[in-house]
């Protein structure tokens, strides 16, 4: 479980996050939504340890971690990470294991990479140059890399996966594909998943828990039916979509 207590963050005079308290449970897809400039990316950076909160604290279950130690059980997937030089897909997935070995990967590291590449269906282009892949394929390779980073051999070890707008730049096929992979990963592994998405229909379909933030504050927090209501959507986005709940999915028609 990840607990954030009364976290605030300001850059200069501008307060980007204002006294947020949140909890995120393992085995669930936790998604953060909100309009542009609401503070979603800042929140994910603070939660993942990239930024130190100005006040408040974040508990991973273990306190005071070094950058190197944190990397063994916390991974972050950003949008559109590109490479400065050509590398094969296999080498990129192996980078996820770098925090776990000193100079040469162990047999276990190699096995994890194989397993992860199969899980994400990237085995077919394992030997290809990453720079020649399509945007959707690239993001899938990075997803495989961050999964390899927190692919624990001991299922008792809890890991944390942060997704900072992972669906940006992906077409609808790859968006759905990505979310299905995420769903499978969440069900199979002992991880806390926290992601930022823009598409409210994706959120309404996949989220087990939603956090709607606006102006650096939590506007609503809970399951998708309680968060995706007309009043909440109107106060955050100034839109009045028609909202339907079908088979547990919440759908919005604008």
């Amino acid at each position: 479980m990840l607990t954030a207590q009364n976290i605030s963050y300001s850059a200069g005079k501008k307060q980007l996050l204002d006294n947020l308290s949140l909890t995120f449970e393992p085995g669930k897809i936790n998604l953060i939504i909100g309009p542009n400039g609401a503070g979603k990316s800042t929140l994910i950076k603070v939660l993942s340890g990239m930024l130190k909160p100005s006040t408040g604290s974040i508990f991973y279950g273990i306190n005071e971690m070094s950058v190197a130690a944190l990397a063994k059980f916390r991974a972050v997937l950003s949008q559109n990470t590109d490479l400065a030089f050509p590398l094969t897909v296999k080498e990129i997935v192996m980078m996820g294991r770098y925090p776990h070995f000193k100079s040469n990967p162990s047999l276990a590291d190699a096995q994890i990479c194989d397993e992860v590449m199969r899980f994400f269906d990237v085995t077919d282009f394992a030997e290809r140059n990453f720079l020649t892949l399509s945007g959707g394929e690239k993001q899938r390779v990075h997803f495989a890399r961050v999964a390899a980073q927190i692919w624990q051999q001991n299922s008792k070890v809890l890991s944390y996966l942060f997704l900072d707008e992972p669906l940006a730049f992906l077409d609808i096929f790859y968006q759905i594909d990505f979310m299905n992979k995420l769903l499978a990963l969440t069900q199979q592994k002992n991880i806390v998943v926290i992601g930022v998405v823009h598409d409210l229909n994706i959120a309404g379909k996949y989220a087990d828990k939603l956090v709607l933030i606006n102006n650096g504050k939590v506007l609503a927090d809970g399951d998708k039916q309680t968060v995706l209501t007309s009043e909440n959507i109107f106060s955050a986005y100034h839109l009045k979509p028609e909202i339907q709940s079908i088979n547990g999915d919440v759908r919005l028609y604008y």
Partner: protein, 341 residues
């Protein structure tokens, strides 16, 4: 998976050995294989009755070839380090001020040394070169950091490099103008490099620094790979980014400065060699660093051989040869869309 391809390395090692022998053999005077062998025999049996050609081989050709090896390895690996650090294939030690700073430090040592006639140890020249290189490189590094983003924009970096290079090379020009020491007087020496001053003393000093820095560089391979994805990703994968930056910069400066102190500024080796190797074996730094050391050594040996052969019995500054090869590669890289700028 992850079995490192050893083939290229083995091939390069053999090619290097052949290149050293060829480079030692040909020049203003050609030395036969028999003379080379007998010279080595006499060297190891402490026989000082050397014939002229044997003496040329032992005292001139061999140290010169070995200096080429160490300097070439330093320049190429320095290029890999700096390209990895800035995430860009078009930077090299000569472009970000390290070489010109080292030349300035070395020139200052010669001028002041001649002026005040102080006795100096054998490490004074390398230290002076390092001091100059530290000043120029850090100046480029700090001046090119953008205030808003906190990291270097490549255009700013290259332009700052040009400015600082011009400043330090005009300093070298001034010093060689007022210098009495014949070595410092030679402006072509500092500007375009030459290995004509090679002797066993310089081979030992450059050899020690190259070997040490090479071992340290190989330890950065993993971090340099991660750095390809950017600084944020590097932090997520557990790297203390600022510490790493300064460590890499330090190794690069020492490596390049000590080589430059003895041979002057040789451009483009750090650019061409890593680039060619990336085309052959990809960009994994485990392989790239090791192979760059070998390939840089081969490249400089051959460049030196060409510099000695083309106008023999005179010789060209080696920088002319490396530039003729290097500039087209540089322009090709600039125009290539596959890389990010």
């Amino acid at each position: 998976m992850y079995k490192v391809n050893q083939l290229t390395t083995i091939f390069l090692a053999i090619a290097l050995l052949v290149t050293i022998l060829v480079s030692a053999r040909y020049g203003a005077v050609n030395i036969s294989t028999i003379e080379m062998i007998s010279a080595l025999e006499k060297f190891f049996s402490n026989n000082s009755m050397l014939l002229l050609n044997e003496r040329i081989f032992l005292d001139i050709r061999l140290p010169r070839a070995l200096l080429c090896v160490f300097v070439g390895a330093s320049l190429a690996v320095g290029g890999v380090l700096i390209q990895g650090l800035f995430r860009n294939p078009i930077v090299e030690p000569g472009l970000i001020g390290t070489s010109s700073g080292a030349a300035m430090g070395a020139a200052l040592y010669f001028v002041l040394g001649a002026m005040f006639k102080f006795n100096t140890g054998e490490w004074t020249l390398p230290i002076a070169a390092c001091a100059g290189a530290i000043i120029s490189t850090v100046l480029v590094f700090v001046l090119s950091q953008s205030k808003t983003v906190g990291r270097s924009n490549i255009v700013t970096l290259l332009l700052t490099g040009i400015a600082i290079n011009a400043l330090f090379m005009s300093g070298v020009g001034f010093l060689s103008y007022i210098a009495r020491d014949p070595q410092a007087r030679s402006i072509t020496f500092w500007g375009m490099g030459t290995l004509s001053g090679a002797n066993w003393h310089s081979v030992i000093i450059v050899g020690i620094s190259t070997s040490l820095c090479l071992v340290l560089s190989l330890r950065f391979a993993k971090q340099l790979n991660i750095l390809m994805m950017g600084e944020d990703e590097a932090i997520f994968l557990g790297i203390s980014i600022n510490q790493l930056k300064w460590q890499i910069l330090t190794v690069e400066i020492v490596m390049i400065a000590i080589a430059t102190a003895f041979v002057g500024v040789i451009s483009f080796v750090g650019l061409i060699v890593p680039h060619l190797l990336r085309m052959i074996n990809g960009s994994d730094n485990h392989l790239l660093i090791r192979n760059s050391a070998f390939a840089g050594a081969i490249f400089l040996c051959l460049a030196d051989l060409i510099a000695r052969m083309i106008v023999r019995p005179a010789e060209l500054p080696i920088g002319i040869v490396t530039s003729v090869v290097g500039v087209p590669v540089f322009i090709f890289l600039l125009r290539k869309k596959n890389y990010l700028f």
